[in-house]
């Protein structure tokens, strides 16, 4: 059977005033890049964006463009790290090869406009808006979780151009154990932790938070600590401020219900289901798809309202379309 099908992708076409973006091309050694140049390039205070390519023999080729300032200012900025640069010259990049420049420029500009942003595994994630504040305020523990609408974005080259893919998501942040101790007191917290509480704990050796289970509250010579067992079995004693409840209400059902009652759990759990596009409810199948599309559009609107868009990269104006990409055609399908 042949069906007529219309498909919408959660991506927005990028438009530029020119097909090439002017850059300063620099050559640096592996060591200089890791120790000095990378930190300079990533500094959100410096109005530059970059693309990096590893060359043979431990060298890096970097293309640097300016964000909303002239390229001459980039030249001036680079003076700060000139001792670590082997060679530099004016160059340019084709738009289709400049996706990193656009992603990073958005990232930096969003940070300067008050968004919280992270970069991991090739994706940029930004959030600002809190969700469900009224419902949360009505619970017995309004400090337990904070909900944010976050957007994960990436630029992608498709057959005929460059697109910005935007995926709306829910971010849930659990409170840290120092707050738990403040609100619950020693005895109660000690008892609940002894059963094992799902958390994320800072791992000093990796300089990042890792999944763990909190098993005991202890007094050490360095003060109060939480004894945790990381996901891979390593045990550690971590400061209360560096251990946070895992950002998933559903995984903490027993913990929340036991301490704050069924009503508090239901409020948080419903918010998580309502705003998380990966969960949903039986009823949401009639609305969630279109909400997903609308939320993607909302990101573009918010970014434009925050004056992040349009961007000016060196001498080129970069903007995105307001509507997501729509394709249509005939699709053959057996209906059973």
């Amino acid at each position: 059977m042949i069906e007529r099908a219309n498909v919408i992708l959660n991506c927005f076409a990028l438009k530029t005033s020119d097909a090439n973006i002017s850059t300063v091309k620099a050559l640096v050694s592996d060591e200089s890049y890791r120790l000095h140049v990378k930190h300079f390039l990533q500094d959100p205070e410096v109005s530059i964006t970059y693309k990096v390519k590893r060359l043979p023999k431990g060298l890096f080729e970097i293309h640097v463009a300016s964000i909303d300032v002239s390229l001459d200012e980039v030249e001036n900025s680079i003076e700060k790290v000139k001792d670590h640069i082997m060679d530099k010259e004016r160059s340019s990049l084709e738009l289709l090869k400049a996706k990193e420049l656009i992603e990073r420029a958005l990232f930096k500009k969003l940070i300067t406009k008050g968004w919280s942003c992270e970069y991991r595994h090739g994706y940029y994630t930004c959030y600002r808006e809190k969700l469900g504040e009224n419902e949360i305020a009505s619970t017995k523990a309004p400090w337990l979780f904070t909900f944010y609408r976050e957007y994960r974005y990436k630029t992608m080259v498709m057959t005929d151009g460059l697109y910005l893919f935007v995926e709306p998501r829910l971010r849930v942040e659990g409170t840290d154990f120092s707050s738990l101790l403040k609100y619950l007191g020693d005895g109660v917290l000690d008892e609940v932790i002894s059963k094992g509480v799902s958390c994320i704990a800072y791992r000093e050796s990796e300089k990042r938070y890792r999944r763990a289970v909190a098993v005991r509250l202890i007094n050490s010579t360095k003060g109060r600590r939480v004894e945790v067992i990381y996901f891979d079995g390593e045990e550690a004693q971590v400061e209360l401020e560096k251990v946070k409840l895992i950002g998933n209400v559903l995984w903490l059902k027993g913990f929340v219900t036991g301490l704050f009652g069924q009503e508090a759990y239901e409020t948080y759990a419903q918010l998580q289901r309502r705003y998380s596009f990966s969960l949903g409810t039986k009823e949401s199948k009639y609305t969630m798809g279109s909400e997903f599309k609308e939320e993607s559009k909302k990101f573009i609107k918010n970014v434009r309202d925050s004056n992040v868009l349009p961007l000016r990269l060196s001498d080129v104006v970069v903007d995105v379309e307001d509507k997501p990409l729509e394709v249509d055609g005939n699709a053959s399908r057996e209906v059973w």
Binding site: L9, G196, L279, G329
Partner: protein, 460 residues
């Protein structure tokens, strides 16, 4: 609006016992029974032995044991109903283990010792029947997700692939309806049964799923001290049935790549021997990181070796990942993706949504999921030169990937979000990796010896 670069793949049908053809696994098994059962299951009753793991720090529901026994009774009915199995329920004398905190290493060591004692006692009591036709059902509290030191991994470490075992958690006990059918299906597969095959076979003879991961070893308070590479392969035939799974821990990437190559070579050679043909169509599915140039060169050498043995191999290498933030929203399905919908990004890359809205006859769309399903990105990494153009080769790969999402044999859902080639190779890599970690941390003996061939999917 732009030119058509998307399409819908047809939903594959399954073939059950007695040649019964159906899409829905539950309906197919009810009406036709399983496609094939091991001879021993047909000839003798299968023993179902309960083992209850209690934890003293939790207030276990008073009726935990009663619930478990009720579950067991109903499960035995499911075995009869769906798999025509005769079952002997050993519920009169359930084994029980009591531990305190289920995450503390010392407690887990005690649990391991207890499980080993029980395993030996079961062996003494049931003899060879234990490995041949028995299944141990372990009733325990659900472990915290991703925690490797947990009763689940300890039980897998002790029982491993020697005894078919299934952990049933308090969460499953709280809602029997779905879990009963899923557990019975998984146990049947672990015993070596084939619940269904694809009605229309894949257009390839051998599909090899490759999974790779790194196991990092740490010492308390120190960073990473050493690491190993863990690889796994899952071999699937044209009928969509998994024939074997292997896992290997290697100290270098090169050693692992060579091991993967030798398994591809062996799988093709065995197919040639069993089918009597000298022409083989081979497909290799990579998950995780894309294969490097060196890995691809290694595979090409393997193909050359096979050619020297007068085996003509037509091959393609696909990379499959769900680490994408793209969604294909179908207007006609409330902006949900439709199951089997794909979009060609180029001749080498495409998006595919295996899960999504399906049409059931003349009724409205059927949603086999909650939430927006993840999209897969399928890339044609390499292909033999004798192949047709890239786009048609990629579309053929998409169909293969989509069909294999219907061959997951541990759940009664219509399909899952990835092909079993990548899922099973990754699952076994993750499980073996966790078991290696448990063994090292707790200094335990382990029944899983690495490099083993697992003919039965014990890891499900």
């Amino acid at each position: 609006m732009r030119a058509e670069r998307f399409g819908n793949l047809e939903v594959p049908k399954r073939r059950f016992g007695g040649g019964f053809i159906e899409v829905n696994p539950r309906r197919g098994l009810s009406k036709g029974g399983p496609y094939a059962s091991p001879a021993r299951i047909k000839e003798e009753a299968t023993l179902v032995i309960p083992l209850i793991v209690k934890s003293s720090v939790y207030e276990e529901p008073q009726n935990f044991k009663e619930k478990a026994m009720e579950f067991l009774d109903k499960l035995c009915e499911e075995f009869r109903k769906y798999f025509r199995m005769s079952v002997e329920n050993a519920k009169e004398e359930p084994y029980e283990v009591l531990i305190t905190n289920p995450y503390k290493p010392a407690e887990l060591q005690r649990l391991s010792a207890e499980l080993r004692r029980i395993k030996n006692e079961l062996r003494d009591r049931y003899g060879d029947a234990l490995e041949q036709r028995a299944v141990v059902l372990i009733f325990a509290r659900q472990s915290l997700k991703y925690q490797k030191l947990s009763p689940y991994y300890v039980s897998k470490c002790v029982l491993g692939h020697e005894i078919a075992s299934q952990v049933v958690t308090d969460v499953a006990l709280s809602n029997f309806d779905m879990s009963l059918a899923n557990v019975s299906l998984g146990v049947f597969a672990k015993l070596g049964g084939i619940p269904w095959v694809l009605n229309n076979f894949l257009p390839v003879d051998v599909v090899v799923g490759v999974g790779k991961t790194i196991i990092k070893y740490r010492e308390e308070g120190r960073g990473e001290v050493s690491q190993d590479y863990l690889g796994s392969v899952a071999i699937v035939g044209a009928n969509g049935v998994i024939s074997e799974v292997r896992a290997k821990v290697a100290s270098t990437k090169e050693e692992l790549a060579s091991w993967i190559g030798s398994n591809v070579q062996r799988a093709v050679s065995e197919f040639v021997l069993s089918s009597g043909t000298e022409e083989v169509s081979l497909s290799i599915h990579y998950s995780g990181k894309k294969p490097s140039k060196d890995e691809l060169d290694g595979l090409k050498e393997v193909i050359e070796d096979l050619k020297n043995k007068k085996i003509k191999v037509s091959y393609k290498v696909l990379h499959i990942t769900d680490d994408v933030n793209a969604s294909l929203l179908c207007k006609g399905c409330n902006y949900y993706p439709a199951s089997g919908l794909y979009y060609l990004l180029s001749d080498k890359e495409a998006y595919l949504t295996p899960l999504g809205a399906l049409k059931l006859g003349s009724s409205g769309p059927y949603y086999s999921f909650t939430g927006i399903p993840r999209t897969l990105k399928v890339s044609l990494v390499d292909a033999s030169e004798d192949n047709e153009g890239g786009a048609s080769r990629l579309t053929e790969g998409l169909r293969e990937v989509y069909y294999l999402t219907f061959m997951h044999i541990a759940g009664m859902q219509i399909n899952i979000n990835e092909p079993i080639t990548t899922k099973y190779s990754r699952d076994v890599a993750r499980l073996v990796g966790s078991v290696v970690c448990v063994r090292k941390k707790l200094g335990m003996e382990c029944s899983i010896s690495l490099g083993d061939v697992y003919e039965r999917p014990w890891f499900l």
